[in-house]
Amino acid sequence: MMDALGEPQGVLVLGGSSEIAIATVLALPRGRLRRVVLAGRPSPALDEAVATLNKAMIPGVEVMDFDASDTSQHADVVDRAFDGGDIDVALLAFGLLGDQAAAEADPDAAVEVATVNYTGAVSVGLRVAARLRQQGHGTLVVLSSVAGDRARRSNFVYGSTKAGLDAFAQGLGDALHGTGARVLIVRPGFVRTKMTTGLDEAPMTIDPQDVAKIIVTALRKGKETVYAPGPLRFVMAGLKSVPRPLFRKLPL
C-alpha cells in the first residue's frame, strides 16, 4: 500500500534492465519498500540492475523472466507479480530504439521494434491495468517519448511506436478514471543511456536520474502526463505546429 506520505511498498518494473526504471526505483522513497519485482529478459544488464538495487540495500528484489515480444507469457508474469502482494507503482519501461536506416532496409527489424514497443506494451499494459483496477489503487507509469509527439524523418519507426503507445496510455488512463488505478505518461527527450550511446546528444539532454526525479515528483502529485525535462512540453507544442514542408527541412 502507498502510505499517506506517498511511500510505496510494492513496485513492478517491466523491462527490468531499463536504466530509467532502475534510477526511478532508487529515487522512490524507500522507507516502506518491501518488494521490487524486476521483470525482464535474462541478460547481463538485468543482472547488473539487480546488483545495483542490492548494493543500494533495496529490500525484496525479485526477478521474473519477461519478454515483451512474447505476449503468450504476459498473463502469467503479471499474475505472479500481483499475487505476491499489491503493486503500488508499475513501470512500463521496456523499449527498443532500433536503427532507422536498418529498419528501412529490413522491415523485419522495424516489426521487431513495433512488436516490443507497441504490441508488447498493449499486451502487458492491459493486464497490469486490470490488476491495478482490481486492487483499487496503484499507478502504471508508461515510458513514452517525445519522439511520439511528431514523427521525424530520422526515427519515425521508433517514433510511430511511441505515438501508438502514448495514445494507448492516454486512453487507458481515461478508462481507469475513477477506479483507483491511474496511468502516468512520461515523455522524455534525449536521455543518456545505453540505448542512446553513440548518438549525437540533442539539446536538453538529461540523465536517467533526472527522469527518475521527475517521475517520483509526478507520482506524488498525481500527475497524468509529464515531459522530461519539463520545458520540453513547450518545445514539443511548438514543433507540433510547424507546417510539414518546413518541418521536414528541420535538422531533427
Binding site: L5, P29, H137, G180
Partner: protein
Amino acid sequence: MSTMTSPLERLPGERTLTGWGRTAPSTAVVRAAMSVDDIRASITSAGGRGILARGLGRSYGDAAQSGGATVLDLSAMDRIELDVAAGTATVGAGVSLDAVMRALIPHGWFVPVTPGTRMVTVGGAIAADVHGKNHHRDGTFGSHVQSMTLVDGRGEVRVLDQVSTPTEFWATVGGMGLTGVITEATFDLIPITSSRISVDTVRTRDLDHVMDLMLSGDDAYRYSVAWVDSVHPSGRGVLTRGDHAGAERLTGAAAQDPLAFDPKVLASAPPLIPNGLVNPLTMRAFNEAWFRKAPKQRDGELQHIAEFFHPLDIVQDWNRAYGPQGFLQYQFAVPDAAGQLVGEALAALRGVGALSALTVLKRFGAANPGPLSFPQPGWTLAVDVPAGVDGLGPVLDRLDEQVLAAGGRLYLAKDSRMSPAMMAASYPRLAEWQRQRDAMDPDGVFTSDLARRLSL
C-alpha cells in the same frame, strides 16, 4: 456493441475512499447492508479482496478503506434502545454517537466515552476502541461494552461479552474491524441531570506547568485534556477539566430544560479550498488566538456538552482546510517516565515547519485487555500535520523509534504511515491477536488498506 464486459469498467457502487486525513485513496464497491442476513451474504460471497465495514470515515488514515474490496455501510442498522433499569443502551453499529446523544441526553443519559467528535459510529468506536477526556478514570469505549453482536468470517452470528467470550471480545475491541462485522452493541451509560459540563480552565505557561497540573490534579476530575500551542517553543497551552454539572447549577431559561441537546453545524468548509490555507502564518495566528481566547483561570464555567467535547463538529468537513495533499495525525502513547518525549516531539515537528493547529495532550489511565487497544498508562500526544511538509517522513520515523524505545506506541485509528516493523515491535501482543483473528476469520475475509500496509 460488444457484449463483453471490460475488466476495466467501473462497477456499480464503486467509490474512492480515504480516511479523514484525505491521503492515499483507494476504490471499493460500497454496499449498504440492510440486515444481518445482508452482511452474512456479503461475507459468504466475498471476492478475493475481501470485506470491510466502514462507519463515518473519521479514522485519519486507511483503517476504514480497502482497495478492491466490498465495503459495507451499516447506516441502516440504526436501532437505539434505552434500558433505564440497567442504565445501558443497545445500539446498531451504524448509529453515530451524535444520534445516540441526541436520543439519550434528553432522557438524562450520556455515553460512557466520547472522542473529540460525535461523528463516529458505535461499530467504529468499538473497532478503534476510542478514548476520550475521561480515559484516566473510565478507560476506553470498549471497556464499557456489555455485549456485542458480530458476524464472523464464516458468516456466523455471534454474541460476544467480556465474561463468556473474553478472547473474541477483546480481539474485536481495538481489532480495527478485522475480526468480523459488528452489528450492534450494548454499553453502559452515565446518568446525568443536565447537558452541561462544569469546566475549570487554566492557561498554562509551558509544558512543565501543564504536565505538573495534570499529574497532580487530573484524578479530581472525570474529564481532562490540554491543548498545546505547537508554534510557541514554550509549549504553553490551555488545560480544561470538568465533570457533568447537576441540573441545580442551571439558572434562567437553561433551567427550564436542563437536558436540552441540539448542537448545530454552524458552517461547512467551502467546496473549493485554496492550496496552502494551512501555512505557518495561519497556524501561528490560530495558535495565538486559541491561547488568547481562553481565560487565565476560571472555575466552574458551565459549557454545553458539544462545546466542551466536540468544538470542531461545528464546522463540517474541516479536514478539507488542509487542501488536496491532505494531512495526518500523529498520536503516540508513552509511559510517564518518557514524558519528555512530548516536548521533544513538538520541537522535532517545529523543526521541519510542521505546525499544528490541534495539539492535544492527555493522561491515560490503565490499559484494558485488548491486544491492539491503544491506550496505556502515561501520556498521549496528538498532533495534526499537513502531509505535504518536506522532510516529514524521516522526522516521524525518528519519533517512532523514540516512542518504541520508551515502550510506547501509535494509535491505529490515526496512523497512515508507520512501518510494519514499528507496528509489530510496539504492539508486542500482535501475534497473539493475529491467532485470535485467524480463528474468527480463518479465510481472511476481513481486510483493509491499513491491514495490508502494516501486515496485520
